[in-house]
Symmetry: C2
Subunit: 347 residues, 2 copies
Amino acid sequence: MTSRTPRKSRSTSGIAASANGPSASSISAVAALAGVSTATVSRVLNRSKPVNAETQQRVEAAVSQLGYRANPFARSLTSGESRLILVLTPDFLNPFFAEIVQGIESVTRRSGYSILLSQASDTAPLDTVYERLVDGVISLAHLRDPKALSGTDRKHNLPWVACSEFRPDDDIPYVSIDHRQGAIDAVQYLLNRGHRRIALLTAAEDYTWARQRRIGYEETLRRAGLTVDPALIRVARGTEYADGIEAVGGLLSLQDLPTAIFAVADTLAIGAIKALRRAGRRVPEDVAVVGFDNLHLAQVFEPSLTTIAQPMRELGQAAVELLLGQLAGEKPVSRMLPHTLVVRESG
Amino acid sequence: MTSRTPRKSRSTSGIAASANGPSASSISAVAALAGVSTATVSRVLNRSKPVNAETQQRVEAAVSQLGYRANPFARSLTSGESRLILVLTPDFLNPFFAEIVQGIESVTRRSGYSILLSQASDTAPLDTVYERLVDGVISLAHLRDPKALSGTDRKHNLPWVACSEFRPDDDIPYVSIDHRQGAIDAVQYLLNRGHRRIALLTAAEDYTWARQRRIGYEETLRRAGLTVDPALIRVARGTEYADGIEAVGGLLSLQDLPTAIFAVADTLAIGAIKALRRAGRRVPEDVAVVGFDNLHLAQVFEPSLTTIAQPMRELGQAAVELLLGQLAGEKPVSRMLPHTLVVRESG
DNA sequence: CTGAAAGCGCTTACAG
DNA sequence: CTGAAAGCGCTTACAG
């Protein structure tokens, strides 16, 4: 808020506000200067109703002369909308989410909405202030019951879009790639390259995307007549590099090492490569590694990563469009975006 | 906003609001249920004035029964504060900023403030809606005139803290490391290792930190009796990996290659290493590389990065504390936090 | 096309 | 300790 001066007197009438020290001018100051009512100023500002051209010019002149911008609290209190969208992400540190947010921002910026970015995790539950502040939510995070941020939310029916992390059986609209198919493509690629002992480096399965990718992995192995060896499935604690390093540790003590690892995130793949190298293994000569996401880092890391590319910007953009559609009263239709296999050095 | 139902009738009195379909209940509904006035409910909610213990319990019971949460717009409109802080970052993709934001969040979360995260750049100027929405700003970004987000801001005197990117001669309080000294430590380290031809990979100098680090670089060379060779100073377009790769390109065509590169960001250092490798140079054997920041990636990348470590979480935390102090009426005192040299494989 | 006025949901002097 | 009521700065039927 730009005006922090507490209200002093209850007798301050509209026009006097413009003399209110360094505080922002109010709509009544603009009205007075332009010689019109506040209703007219409001109409000009919001283009909500036709206004005489000459009147409009006077108002606009007054607005710019006073440097007036509407008080968003007053506006939202009356209009019932804030033009604010909450973006819920599990982790600011994972570049995957950052890229999606870039996509989200590119659309909101030109549609008059602003975003409010928040990290959501089970340990640090969502700030409930946000819920009543925003017109809708785009969630990249996993929430036990997404619709129930806090007790009362189910009732309030906050418009909601799931991005990448979604539940197919839910009624929440979503935008995502086909995680299962992405995993199938990755594992099939490794099979085609002659690998038969393929490990899976995955994340905690409260994430749908992790579960779906595991299913794709297992399905592909079975379809190829191979058995799924539980010893070759490693679950990382999170998706940071260190989590990948740690999770792969157990693999290295196996007598019969896998010849390939499919990691469900590029960050985990990079951690895996690091761990393999520390153990004196070469990638891809001794062990091939395939990642998921295609972060910018994937082509810079050495060896560069073979990975499943997600259209991250497009995911973000599509999520906003879906949400904005909902806000406009359209019925949401979920979308699957295409992924691609990018072959580089690591596998 | 959770209640999107437009107001239908002007005769809806307070209590009726609770029957208002699926919308959030209002303070008058709570008051009615508890058998007190809205003033008393407000006092209980904000602990702003003593309330009889038994009354308080009745109010609290009503609040939880109705799942009531205050409408933040109405609250802010009257109270004059939003408990929202704007965090301005140049680039979501650079993990350096993500780590600082983590630090910021850890403090705001427990102090009742929420953050609003926005990317600011010259090409995409700040969303002016934010300015009137927040109680204060923490900026990691470079702005020509930080106090003048838009025309009228100077007047409004939005409390402001600069984090890492600051101007020593400004009156804006800041939290940062000593960029010049960090560069001195990096370059001196390379000199101590016997390097005499040390290149600088820097960023556009509208960033103070980039300018300060160049100054430290030049100073250290001169103090060692060396001349500064302009051919060895490369300015990257941004701070992404690709910018580092591109900027180092020119260096590689030099007849007399440097034996070391000091990059003013880890992301640039990684780009530089990538470019060197592509050109068939070994790091550190042919060319040593020292970075800046100490991202998580710095110890995972191969070769791991020798770098100047910034206390990123602490920078974020200190920035919030400084801003909150200002909001509480304290006079801000800027702080310099310590950095350290971390020696690893790259140089 | 325009204005007077009610109302959005809170907080806070003011007066008990 | 508590309540009636004004006021925060907007928007929007309603009535010209």
